[in-house]
Symmetry: C2
Subunit: 245 residues, 2 copies
């Protein structure tokens, strides 16, 4: 086996988003994605707002450059980092492109807990063996589309891990979409996250300003999301848009 | 009845700390406290770091100035605010100084959920009727002391609400204390929060810098708190140290 394309592997850091915001963790970014957030149907990309902040894990010409690591090499790389956090976060790209069952098992054998971030388009059985799944469906400003029933089917197959939904918000259409989507996942802890406009090299002030705007807009719209936390991207506040943090 | 001393009542805002960080809410700050965080045994106060950030809700000469509101007046004040959040947060001071059972019932009748923040020194039966209790025990840098078994007894009486522990951290002694205290509350969701040094008028950069320091210090100490989230005070990042936000 030739191993998995590992675009980034780092830590200890802190989870920046979702239910476990602030949680100490290691972070593994897998290369490859079935989405192109920010790309229009005609192939052009939007120039601001929601463009994937991890294109180095998405574009094939960049993913091709990533080292391919086996399960043992990944475990060894983690063990070489400063010890501390209990959690390992899989992100991407979409980690569901890969057959990660053996890696999850090896991480558990080494007493790590495993959290996965995914848009909920691709199912793999190993997902039910992890500890936390954050499903982050992509709202309209990304220009991405789900097949009919895709996410619905995905959510229904989740059985075992703690499951939360996180919707990243750029504009009011995204808020409307989150209001709509929430009715599809009753009872699932639901979070909003501020879209990180990585075109701004240090986006803290802008990020916090946009968080306020989301809060005010939801209130002005009648607060259908009146029990949904709105979170910054804590890692961007702490470390800016640098890689490897 | 003469009503409750209400130092602040405002919203919609966002919960800044703990498990519900980012949650839309209304905020009611009750006057009166059995603690004097930052005051030494000899009566002097520390000049930096952890000094209570709500002394207007603690010092008798200030609390005396607060309007006394009945249950009906509190409900009416909330209803007059822009509607939206599901949650009402009781803070202080220590809201456990007051007989708030009728208020909790009235809030539930009006379809609000109730969250309470307290240091865990004083018990009242109404506490088991609320929806979320955040116990925030005070570590050494506050100079406050608990009687033997006080918090232990308090935690054991909690039966019904969702319960979480939040420890606000100023220095390394506070981190050591949190490591120690955590063993007393196994299984209870546990959070660290960065102490807000309100002597700094806009403490965002300092707050984030101190969050990084807490993270690094915990890792350097061997990460006994390796599965404990470290959170900023989101309200301070968003609105600085202004009152009524």
């Amino acid at each position: 086996m030739s191993g998995f394309p590992i675009v980034e592997l780092f830590g200890p850091t802190l989870q920046g988003e979702g239910q476990d915001i602030g949680m100490p963790c290691y972070f593994i970014r897998f290369g490859g994605c079935d989405f192109r957030c920010g790309q229009r149907d005609d192939g052009t990309w939007r120039s601001d707002g929601w463009v994937c902040d991890s294109l180095h894990a998405v574009l094939p010409e960049e993913v091709r450059l990533a080292p391919k690591l086996s399960v043992d090499e990944i475990i060894n790389s983690l063990v070489e980092l400063t010890p501390g956090p209990d959690w390992v976060v899989f992100s991407g790209g979409n980690p569901l492109l890969h057959e990660l069952g053996d890696l999850v098992e090896a991480l558990h054998d080494n007493h790590y807990k495993v959290a996965v971030e995914t848009q909920g388009t691709i199912w793999k059985e190993w997902l039910n063996d992890v500890d936390l799944v954050t499903v982050s469906p992509k709202p309209p400003s990304t220009f991405q589309k789900y097949g009919a029933g895709t996410i619905d089917t995905f959510m229904k197959r989740l059985n075992g891990p703690r499951v939360v939904v996180k919707v990243v918000i750029w504009d009011e259409d995204d808020i409307k979409w989150a209001e709509w989507f929430r009715d599809w996942v009753p009872g699932v802890p639901f979070y909003l996250s501020v879209c990180n406009d990585w075109h701004k090299p240090d986006g803290s002030d802008e990020l916090l300003g946009r968080l306020k705007w989301i809060h005010e807009t939801i209130v002005a719209r009648g607060a259908k999301l009146g029990d949904v936390p709105i979170l910054p991207q804590l890692h961007v506040l702490l470390w800016g848009n640098s890689r490897g943090r």
